[in-house]
């Protein structure tokens, strides 16, 4: 061999020199590597920061809504006034004027208040719902008539805001919703221990109300639940069936291509279009009731179907063909292959797609607008035909309400919606785990 030994591969660079070249390039490469990693970290950091800010602001704004200021009233349930017949007839008890009882008690507590305007201001300390609370309590337990009971009633939303520190006492009286005399009464009540922040159970058990202190999320939550149940019951079997047919059985021709293109396009159609479709088809043509979870579910089914079909098809595609062949090879019919092997294997993926679709549906307001689910509905829906609203719609409606107290309700409702989503995702994860462990 000559004195110049060719380098490996015979490129003509001396091994020694080659190594030096590599070494010389290393700092640059390392720096580039580091930079690349840094970009990623920055991106993640930014994303996290925004998320934290969003969550923090929502939670900070909303957590106070889980407490509500209550006022303790000692109400004498004068039998002569609420049950003059003395037979505890529920109908009579129902019709009695409990408002008057509460007003009497308020007057008794502040005997020096006079004048119609001031009296009205005094009555305004307690919520409009107080008398109904009292009525419900008496109806539930007629034995109470004639007794003097201590009653915690929700305070008016303005008082609640004051107690939560959202009212600035330093601004001139004319610019405040709470006048000086009201502040004085509140201070007196507070000093007597008659004002208390209590857990706001109403928020989780009641339907919508125009009085912020009485407004609850339960109606919307039930509406969302019913709607999603309809959506799930329809879109999952339909989506999976469509996906299985398209992926496994449909012949490849112009028609199936057309269907495929259309499904993919449908996934990108703005959701309001589905609302219009739902209005035209389900309400105007089939005559289904407006504002019903059934129609909402149908419309959201239309909206989520493409998502589920696409995800399910992807899941089916990812099942190795060897499994199909294995089953076919010992004489399973195509349907048996599907049912025993392919679908169970694709199920986790299908579930993921479904949950994504459901989550999307849960957050959707636009299509519901067209079919009348964006509405003030105070009663809790009892079935899929009752008028109902949904969580995001409730948020939208509250965000638009003039009363100050609805600001925190809005954030609280968002928290509930997020919790809903978190629970759904958790369920999805659990389901997926279970199915994956089984096979």
């Amino acid at each position: 061999m000559s004195s110049v030994a060719p380098a490996a591969g015979g490129v003509g660079v001396l091994p020694r020199r080659k190594f030096e070249l590599v070494l010389a390039g290393m700092p640059r490469r390392r720096a580039a590597e580091k930079r690349f990693r840094l970009y990623g970290q920055i991106a993640i950091g930014l994303g996290l920061a925004f998320l934290v800010i969003l969550f923090a602001s929502i939670i900070l704004n909303g957590y106070t809504a889980f407490w509500q200021t209550h006022i303790r009233l000692d109400v004498t349930l004068d039998a002569a006034r609420i049950d003059p017949q003395g037979n505890r007839d529920p109908e009579a008890l129902r019709r009695a004027d409990y408002n008057e009882l509460i007003r009497d008690q308020l007057r008794a507590m502040f005997p020096d208040v006079s004048g119609r305007r001031d009296r009205l201001a005094l009555y305004g300390l307690v919520s409009n719902g107080a008398s109904f609370d009292l009525r419900d309590r008496v109806l539930a337990n007629p034995e109470l008539v004639g007794q003097k009971i201590a009653l915690w009633v929700p305070a008016d939303d303005d008082i609640d805001m004051l107690m939560k520190g959202n009212v600035d006492r330093s601004v001139p009286e004319s610019d405040r919703r709470l006048k000086d005399n009201q502040l004085a009464w509140v201070d007196k009540l507070a000093a007597e221990g008659r004002l208390q922040q209590r857990f706001n159970a109403d928020f989780f058990t009641r339907g919508d109300s125009r009085d912020a202190e009485l407004a609850g999320i339960w109606g919307a939550a039930v509406g969302s639940l019913l709607t999603l149940m309809v959506t799930l019951a329809l879109s999952f079997p339909l989506g999976v069936a469509a996906a299985v047919y398209l992926e496994e059985f449909a012949p490849r021709n112009r028609w199936t291509d057309l269907i495929e293109v259309n499904i993919n396009n449908l996934a990108a159609v703005p959701s309001i279009v589905f609302g219009l479709l739902g209005l035209a088809v389900f309400i105007n043509f089939f005559g289904l009731p407006r504002s019903a979870p059934l129609v909402g579910g149908l419309v959201l089914t239309l909206m989520t179907l493409p998502t589920i079909i696409i995800a399910s098809r992807a899941a089916l595609k990812s099942v190795p063909p060897s499994i199909r062949e294995g089953a076919l090879g010992i004489g399973a019919s195509p349907m048996q292959v599907m049912i025993y092997h392919v679908v169970p294997l694709a199920l986790p993926g299908m579930l993921t797609g479904t949950i994504i679709g459901m989550a999307q549906a849960l957050g959707e307001t636009a299509p519901l607008l067209m079919i009348g689910m964006v509405a003030f509905i105070a009663d809790i829906p009892k079935g899929i035909f009752d008028p109902a609203t949904a969580l995001p719609v409730q948020i939208y409606l509250w965000a638009d309400s003039p009363e100050r107290a609805f600001v925190e309700r809005t954030s609280a409702a968002i928290i509930v919606l997020l919790a809903f989503l978190a629970v759904m995702n958790a369920v999805a994860v659990v389901l997926r785990r279970r199915f994956e462990r089984r096979w």
Partner: protein
């Protein structure tokens, strides 16, 4: 798996049949219409639902036009019983109604809504005229130095009127889809522009041009469309003392600790001033009842009764707490009689 699917399908089919059945009767009142009336109607509905044995009515906020359209689609349980409106029904709409079988419609006026221009409490109280507001916000204004129209040259309020603050013109207002915007255009812009004789003259010669000049809002950043959420405008005003905002009276009323109303033609947007009609930027609010549904939908008559009761729309009624400006006692009496008798409108 397949079995479950079949069961689900069967259940849904059964449900759909049940739905058709359920539709043949409806035990709650269905209300649609204006977003301005919505906050008042919902309060009445809630009160009604709690105090009576009837279900709480369902209220959709569809906008006045959308509400009337739905309302006029026909008679039957699938159609709404009541539509709220922040303006009087048009005769063309009544004709559509009649064509669809909605022959008898009861009009009920419930009070007034004041539209307020407001700025932050931190700023000095302001007073302006509708003419000045128009000059500040119109896209084209009459040429101050001669004939014709020029693109709005005013950058600060002081350029329009030296007594106004020497601050950049910045007004936050609702988008064109909003009823508040309609009212603002109708009650402020149209009125303001007609105070120029040249513009007023246009009304006769070139109605289209007149409408464009009066109603087109400038797009150079002085007017900011702040979205439908009026609470957002209030927050933005509190943060920026130089800005003015446009929203309904009820929002001003609820946020007096943050914002103050601007006096229009010297009158501040106060309850009494609006009720007495002194405050110029106010409009009447209505709802319309389908007479054919009275007696069919349970509680419809009672709901109307609740709405027109003194405890609701009276001077100290609970709706006034919510920012509704009550009618004078005379007018209210007439409305109550009208409601009690369920007297349909005469075709105009």
């Amino acid at each position: 798996m397949t079995k479950a699917t079949l069961v689900a399908a069967a259940a849904l089919a059964a449900a759909a049949v049940g739905a058709a059945h359920a539709q043949s009767s409806r035990d709650y009142i269905s209300i649609v219409g204006s977003s301005t009336v919505y906050p008042f109607a919902t309060v009445v509905a809630e009160q009604f639902g709690k105090a009576t044995k009837y279900k709480t009515p369902k209220i959709e906020s569809t906008g006045s036009g959308g509400g009337i359209k739905l309302f006029c689609q026909g008679v039957g349980v699938q159609h709404p019983d009541i539509t709220n409106s922040s303006r009087a029904i048009k005769s063309s709409e009544l004709e559509t109604c009649a064509k669809n079988g909605v022959k008898e419609v009861i009009e009920i006026k419930i009070g007034y809504d004041g539209l307020s221009i407001a700025n932050s409490n931190a700023a000095k109280p302001a007073s302006m005229t509708r003419k000045e507001v128009w000059l500040a916000l119109a896209k084209e204004v009459p040429n101050p130095k001669g004939d014709g129209f020029v693109a709005n040259p005013y950058k600060t309020w002081a350029e329009i009127n030296p007594s106004l603050p020497n601050a950049k013109i910045e007004v936050l207002g609702p988008p064109p889809t909003s009823g508040t915007r309609d009212a603002f255009v109708e009650l402020v812009m149209d009125e303001g522009c007609d105070q120029f004789p040249t513009v007023k003259a246009l009304k006769k010669s070139d109605a289209k041009k007149h409408k464009a000049v009066c109603q087109t809002v400038r797009e150079d950043g002085a007017f900011v469309e702040a979205g439908e959420n009026d609470n957002l405008i209030v927050q933005k005003l509190a943060a920026n003392p130089n800005a003015f905002g446009i929203f309904g009276y009820s929002f001003l009323d609820q946020n007096r600790d943050k914002v103050q109303g601007v006096a229009i033609e010297g009158v501040k947007p106060e309850f009494d001033a609006i009720a007495s009609g002194k405050y110029p930027v106010s409009r009447p609010l209505f709802f319309y009842v389908k007479k054919a549904h009275v007696g069919v939908i349970p509680g419809l008559k009672e709901y109307v009764g609740e709405f027109v009761s003194t405890k609701a729309i009276g001077d100290e009624g609970y709706l006034s707490e919510r920012g509704l400006i009550p009618m004078p006692a005379e007018e209210r009496k007439k409305v109550m009689a009208n409601a009690a008798g369920m007297t349909p409108m005469m075709a105009k």
